[in-house]
């Protein structure tokens, strides 16, 4: 494409103006406000607020449950993507479309219905609770909700990669004597790994920020069922802005680190492509 100076198309100034206006008003200004307020705190103040016992318990639940949920999604998402791309079975197109359901369903509804499903008289809870598996109002429930909201990520990042795999590469491995499992481990899996990790990181990032679905299915008790976003909410209700901001900054920093990791992963993924 020609550089801006040589582009005959009109409207650059107008559209750039509109873009920058909205970006500043909706995104940059609020960020700036949060940064300014954070800078108003001394380091020890910030550290104290960000690392209270209750906050530490909330981080543990948030990161722990998010990690388990993301790992679950990496495993089952890979399996699901494989099955959807490689096999033909009745209902394949329907399931393929349904994978985006967690993106489309408001998180509040997801939390509501999952809490109900896993409660003692829910469809799944009535079998699981007697076995001692309590999904509702427990950390397990938090993990289940986070698995739900992160479900599409691995599947959707992996599907195009699987579709783009050359069947010839697998066939050549077979002609060289490799069995199916060996071919998967040494030829297919390495090509999928960057996409799986990207999807995993995206699901993890999403789970850490998630609020809506979790408040329905968690006990929300301090030290027990409180996720970090919920604790921010509690701080706000107590008008403890500084406390809320300190927690928010921790979450933000973590999100940005993950964002960078995701970008690096995507670069890595394109490394082997020509």
């Amino acid at each position: 494409m020609a550089s801006k100076r040589f582009n005959a198309l009109p409207g650059f100034g107008l559209t750039m103006g509109v873009t920058l206006f909205f970006l500043s008003a909706i995104v940059l200004l609020p960020f700036a406000g949060l940064v300014l307020r954070t800078l108003g705190l001394s380091w020890s103040e910030f550290w104290g607020l960000a690392t209270t016992d209750r906050a530490m318990a909330a981080y543990r639940l948030t990161f722990g449950a998010s990690l388990i949920a993301a790992v679950t999604n990496a495993i089952f998402g890979t399996l699901l993507a494989w099955v959807l791309v490689r096999y033909e079975f009745p209902g394949r197109r329907f399931i393929d479309a349904m994978v985006d359901f967690p993106f489309a369903l408001p998180t509040a509804v997801a939390g509501l219905t999952l809490a109900n499903l896993f409660s003692a008289n829910g469809w799944l809870g009535r079998f699981l609770v007697p076995l001692g598996i309590e999904g509702a109002f427990t950390p397990l429930g938090v993990t289940l909700a986070l698995t739900f909201v992160g479900l599409p990520f691995v599947v959707r990042t992996l599907q195009p990669v699987l579709e783009g795999l050359e069947r010839e590469v697998e066939e050549v491995a077979a002609t060289l004597g490799a069995g199916r499992l060996r071919t998967f481990a040494s030829v297919i899996a390495p090509s999928l790994l960057p996409a799986i990790l990207t999807g995993f990181a995206q699901a993890f990032a999403r789970a850490i920020g998630e609020y809506g679905s979790v408040v329905f299915i968690s006990s929300n008790k301090p030290f027990e069922g409180e996720i970090a976003p919920y604790l921010i909410m509690m701080r706000l209700e107590e008008f403890d802005y500084a406390g809320a901001i300190a927690l928010a900054v921790v979450l933000l920093v973590f999100s940005f680190v993950l964002l960078i990791v995701i970008n690096l992963l995507e670069q890595w993924a394109s490394h082997f492509e020509h």
């Binding site: 590469v169 066939e171 050549v172 077979a174 002609t175 060289l176 004597g177 490799a178 492509e273």
Partner: protein, 367 residues
């Protein structure tokens, strides 16, 4: 006998990609499977490899029936058109892959890979990844990988399809040399007649799933089994004639056709070099006008129009042309030295235009 196919048929649903094909390949031979795209030649190659299963018929490798052997058990080397290198592995690991699977000792693997790197002119590239290689290097890695564990046969699918014209010629010569040095039975698929004629010991010609002819390059060029082969290998004049009194007639041309019924239709075929021309209008029996001269390197192709409107193609060298003092629109006399009455049983499927567009105009002129 290295490889033998007996009555092999492959159906994909209702469509027969390969029908009732039988041929054999001798130990150490360099064999071309030639035909237009969709002719079934790649399917045959894949069946030999075990990547496809014949619907009916048997395949033998070194006397052993391999229908029930999986790809892994057949000990073949296969090179795909796009090479299918393992992107996540270095050149060394690509070549070593099959050896590791076969549980070779580390030291043996190292020796064998280095031997191949040397043989293929790939020394110093062993730590590179496929995306850091040129097209020609990738192909050599693919062939080295296929040959690493000393397969009983090397199978190549359109080996020169993915490289540009300039390198293609080098690669052909290199493949011939390689085959000469290693003496491994090699079968390659191509749609390029010239390539098949130049590189192989023998050629199997396919069209629409049928085997049309098996023979040496010379045999298929000089004595094509039918019209399809005649037209596919090189340029041929083909005329529809009607028999009357033991003579096939088309326009003013007459060809002896003893033993043919009066009124029966035959097709007459002859190569351009069979058409002899003279500027002495009384020397040869037929009169024609030279309509166009095409310059094809040292060879020229001439398009001649007979009084009846029939168009014939002839060819000669520049020197002959100059000697005769020919030029466009010059009247000449001509004769047809030898011709064949084509058996057209299998070539009902191949209307003239379709065959012609598959055939680069220069093909045959080099021979």
């Amino acid at each position: 006998m290295s490889i033998e196919l007996r009555n092999v048929t492959k159906q994909f649903g209702q469509v027969a990609a390969v029908s009732n094909v039988s041929f054999s390949v001798n130990e150490g031979e360099l064999m071309a499977l030639l035909g237009p795209s969709g002719g079934g030649k790649t399917t045959v190659l894949r069946m030999i490899a075990g990547l496809e299963v014949p619907t009916t018929g048997d395949i033998f490798i070194r006397g052993q029936r391999v229908n029930d052997l999986s790809v892994q058990e057949r000990n073949i080397g296969f090179v795909f058109q796009n090479y299918a290198l393992f992107k996540n592995m270095t050149v060394f690991k690509n070549i070593a892959f099959g050896l590791k699977i076969k549980k070779w000792k580390r030291a043996d693997i190292k020796d064998r890979v280095h031997e191949l790197l040397q043989l293929f002119g790939l020394e110093g590239l062993e730590k590179r990844y496929p995306h850091q290689l040129s097209g020609g290097q990738r192909q050599r890695v693919a062939i080295a990988r296929a040959l690493a564990s000393k397969p009983s046969v090397l199978l190549l699918d359109e080996p020169f399809g993915a490289v540009d014209a300039k390198i293609r010629q080098e690669l052909r010569e290199w493949l011939v040399t390689l085959h000469h040095d290693l003496n491994v039975t090699t079968i390659f698929v191509t749609h390029d007649q010239e390539e098949a004629l130049e590189v192989s010991n023998r050629i199997v010609i396919f069209s629409r799933g049928h085997l049309e002819q098996v023979g040496t390059p010379r045999e298929v060029y000089e004595t094509p089994a039918n019209e399809f082969v005649a037209r596919f290998i090189g340029v041929m004049n083909v005329l529809d004639a009607e028999v009357k009194g033991g003579v096939a007639r088309v326009g003013e041309l007459q060809f002896p056709a003893p033993g043919r019924r009066d009124g029966s239709k035959v097709r007459i075929g002859f190569r351009p070099y069979a058409v002899q021309i003279s500027t002495d209008l009384t020397l040869y029996p037929y009169r024609a006008v030279l309509r166009h001269t095409f310059f094809l390197g040292i060879m020229l192709r001439l398009e001649l129009e007979l009084a009846s409107g029939l168009i014939l193609r002839s060819r000669m060298t520049k020197e002959e042309y100059a000697q005769l003092g020919l030029e466009d629109d010059r009247e000449v006399s001509l004769q047809i030295r030898n011709f064949r009455i084509l058996s057209s049983d299998t070539s009902a499927l191949s209307p003239e235009q379709e065959v012609q567009h598959l055939m680069p105009p220069t093909i045959g002129e080099h021979i």
